[in-house]
């Protein structure tokens, strides 16, 4: 048996040449992304490997893609046979030889290569055709697979992008997917920080987390839930700007408050009106019997109640001009010291009636600003009246202290009391329309609930600021800062 060549793999292609051809193949195929590119690269390798007179590339349906024209019909029977048996074949046709090489992997046919050879193909040549078309088929299958994967990915991405929610997928290595809505939304950093924090929590706890962020008067809701993919866990997080929903909620609340306000204001109007009516009736029916002292007292009460009524009406009027944006300030030089003194004096009597002592402790002698003296006084009167109104009944030494100091390029007025205080959650809301800390329906404390809204408007029209510091049950401290020489507005 000395004639038998004992080669290991059973392939007849000598290894040196095969390596060269493999290198060519790798080079030709390394940049290939499309099916027709792969088939062209294959013909290019084959042309260099085998002495061919002509080469042509056909698709699965035996239609020519590129190369020489062939009378394909002559070989149709053999092409079908090659396809069915996954083999290549060679036939003599006149004085040349024709090779039919199906490019296929398992049952997947990608096309055919037809070659014209001047000589009978050697074993090495037939093996070359076979091996390289096989390799090309693997590349082609991968291209196809990649394309179908890409298609699936695009399909899913399209769905994701069509979603009205802005979503992203967060994993251990950060964000792995963002949908279009999310990219377009471009959420502020504050919102994203919260979104990432919640996503991290989801990764850690494996449970859904929700949160809300308020930033520059916009409201954002964040919902993050675990997404288990194989052995890895991701957080699927949806971020939404819910300001519109919040606004709607607010409008509904204002509506509710308006109804309460009307009930409240009716009550406020009725009290002095009833008093005036009762005293006026008594006067009318018993004019002859009443002595001068009683008469004076009755008329004083009627006047006092009329003043109160007038004050309520004025507040309402201010509020309505505020609503119509026609509240006016007329600016002139104002001496804050004397203005505060006047206001404190004006409220002293009311304070005394409630057992609340009023002080003014000026921290500066000179405090002149440009402003509307009547309006600024109105603010102070309102703050003082609140300090008295919301005093604590069981407190032994009730007080309301006003201080004034220079602050920046303006003056800071503070009105401090030791009254019932304001709960933390209410601090921002007390400046809103119709709002009262106690439920307005209890009528424990009289008032329209408009005072602070108007005060805030007035202060802001002066380019100033109003805010409060308070501890529930201990007292409140309202601050009003007015700039020195505000011009315009």
């Amino acid at each position: 048996m000395e004639n038998v060549v004992r080669d290991r793999g059973g392939s007849a292609t000598s290894s040196g040449k095969l390596l060269t051809l493999l290198s060519l193949f790798v080079m030709e195929f390394s940049g290939v992304r499309e099916e027709d590119e792969a088939l062209k690269a294959l013909t290019s390798v084959l042309k260099r490997a085998v002495d061919v007179k002509g080469i042509s590339l056909l698709d699965q349906d035996m239609k020519k893609v590129t190369g020489e024209d062939f009378d394909v019909q002559r070989y149709e029977d053999l092409m079908k046979w090659c396809k069915e048996n996954s083999v290549s074949t060679f036939v003599q046709d006149g004085d040349h030889f024709v090779g039919i090489v199906p490019v296929m992997k398992r049952e997947n046919l990608f096309g055919f290569i037809l070659v014209v050879l001047p000589n009978q193909p050697s074993l090495e040549e037939t093996e070359t055709f076979r091996i390289f078309s096989f390799l090309a088929a693997i590349v082609l299958e991968n291209i196809k697979l990649y394309k179908s994967l890409e298609e699936t990915y695009n399909y899913v991405s399209n769905i994701m992008n069509a979603l009205p929610e802005a979503i992203f997928v967060y994993g251990k290595d950060g964000v792995s997917f963002r949908n279009r809505r999310f990219i377009e939304a471009n959420f502020p950093d504050q919102v994203m920080r919260k979104a990432f924090q919640l996503s991290e929590e989801v990764l850690e706890l494996g449970k859904a987390r929700v949160g809300e962020v308020e930033f520059e008067r916009e409201y954002y809701s964040i919902v993050s839930q675990p997404l288990v993919y194989g052995e890895r866990v991701f957080a699927l997080t949806a971020v939404a700007n819910v300001t519109a929903t919040k606004e709607l909620e607010k409008l509904r609340q204002i509506d509710r408050m308006k109804t309460e306000f009307i009930a409240n204001i009716s009550h406020e109007l009725r009290t002095p009106l009833a008093a005036i009516k009762a005293y006026a009736e008594t006067l009318l029916n018993n004019l002859e019997e009443l002595d001068a002292e009683t008469l004076r007292e009755f008329v004083r009460i009627i006047l006092q109640q009329s003043d109160h009524l007038e004050k309520i009406l004025e507040e309402l009027l201010d509020f309505s001009s505020l609503e119509r944006k026609s509240l006016k300030v007329v600016k002139e030089e104002v001496d804050l010291c004397s203005m505060i003194e006047e206001a404190v004096d004006a409220m002293k009597e009311y304070g005394a009636s409630r057992g609340v002592e009023l002080y003014f402790e000026p921290g500066t002698d000179e405090a002149r600003v440009m402003g509307d003296p009547r309006r600024l006084k109105q603010v102070l009167l309102n703050l003082l009246s609140n300090a008295i109104k919301y005093s604590k009944e069981d407190e032994s030494e009730k007080f309301a202290r006003v201080t004034l100091e220079r602050n920046g390029n303006g003056y800071l007025i503070a009105v401090e009391d030791n009254g019932i205080g304001i709960p933390e959650s209410m601090k921002d809301k007390i400046f809103e329309k119709f709002f009262r800390v106690d439920s307005s329906l209890t009528y424990k404390v009289p008032g329209t609930g408009l005072g602070l809204t108007i005060a805030k408007e007035i202060v802001e029209m002066h380019g100033g600021k109003i805010w409060v510091e308070s501890e529930e049950g201990k007292g409140s401290k309202f601050f009003v800062w007015i700039p020195e020489g505000h011009d315009g507005g």
């Binding site: 290991r8 053999l78 079908k80 048996n85 036939v91 009978q120 193909p121 090495e124």
Partner: protein
């Protein structure tokens, strides 16, 4: 016992010069189909049988092949070599005057295993499927050696296997005889046949003890081909035990139940066309 068997191997029919020449030419890179045809023509009877088989339904070529050179071009060098080797193997089985077993069954098992093994190669995407065909064809050649050296004993072994529903390998072990794997291996080695054929014959029941990983996949294909051929036609191999799928082979080929049923389906279609190969 093994020595006696090895001694007797020399008396067994060996591949004729023509068959040797064909094997050799079909491994030569620059061989032409003309060269293969010339080698075949030195044996007129072999030439006629090869040409007849090349035109058989099994290959199903849509054109009539009239010359051997044409047969080599159309079917391929390796396929024609396989036909010649099939004829030789068939002759070797049936030339035995002393034999008392049903050798048609054995030939059917040889052929079926060749076909199924090749189908495994196709399904797993191994390009050199013709090599797997021969490996399948010759895997049980050790049984032919037994039929030559101990015809009577072999008949008894066949009967024991059938009655006891045993695999031939276990019968050999119980009788303290060298396995047909080892005997076949010795025969193919003495013929100086390619390593793949030697290894697949020596390990078709023992893939896991294969020393070289180089042939692991191909031997696994033959192992699976043998088991499935036994499943398609029980007892043709004179083995009656339960067919055992080798976990090593399954793992190597990344076999899945879906793929196995696909192989069976395809192989059955091919076998149904192999009528003419049953008597060559």
């Amino acid at each position: 016992m093994l020595e006696k068997v090895i001694e007797s191997i020399e008396k067994l029919p060996s591949p004729s010069f023509v068959v040797q020449r064909i094997i050799s030419v079909c491994s030569k890179p620059d061989a032409s189909s003309e060269e293969v045809a010339r080698a075949l023509l030195m044996d007129a009877s072999l030439s006629a049988r090869v040409l007849r088989l090349a035109n058989s339904a099994y290959y199903g070529i849509p054109r009539k092949i009239t010359t051997l050179s044409e047969a080599v071009m159309i079917l391929g060098f390796k396929t024609v070599r396989n036909i010649a080797l099939s004829v030789f193997t068939y002759d070797m089985i049936f030339k035995n005057q002393e034999s008392v077993v049903d050798r048609k069954k054995l030939w059917a098992h040889f052929l079926y295993t060749a076909i199924v093994s090749e189908t495994v190669a196709e399904v797993v995407g191994y390009p050199l499927k013709e090599e797997v065909f021969v490996a399948g064809l010759l895997h049980d050649i050790g049984k032919v050696v037994y039929d030559y050296v101990f015809p009577k004993l072999f008949e008894t072994m066949v009967k024991i296997a059938e009655k006891g529903k045993m695999n031939m390998l276990d019968v050999e072990r119980e009788l303290g005889m060298p396995s047909h794997e080892l005997v076949g291996k010795k025969l193919l080695e003495s013929w100086n046949f390619p390593d793949l054929l030697v290894f697949s014959t020596a390990h078709h029941h023992s893939v896991e003890s294969l020393s070289s990983d180089f042939f692991l996949s191909q031997v696994s294909m033959v192992q699976l081909g043998d088991v499935l051929a036994n499943l398609i036609a029980r007892g043709r191999s004179f083995s009656w035990g339960d067919p055992i799928l080798s976990p090593t082979a399954m793992r190597t080929l990344k076999m899945k139940p879906r793929l196995i049923s696909k192989i069976l389906e395809r192989a059955k279609v091919k076998i149904s066309k192999a009528e003419e190969l049953m008597e060559i």
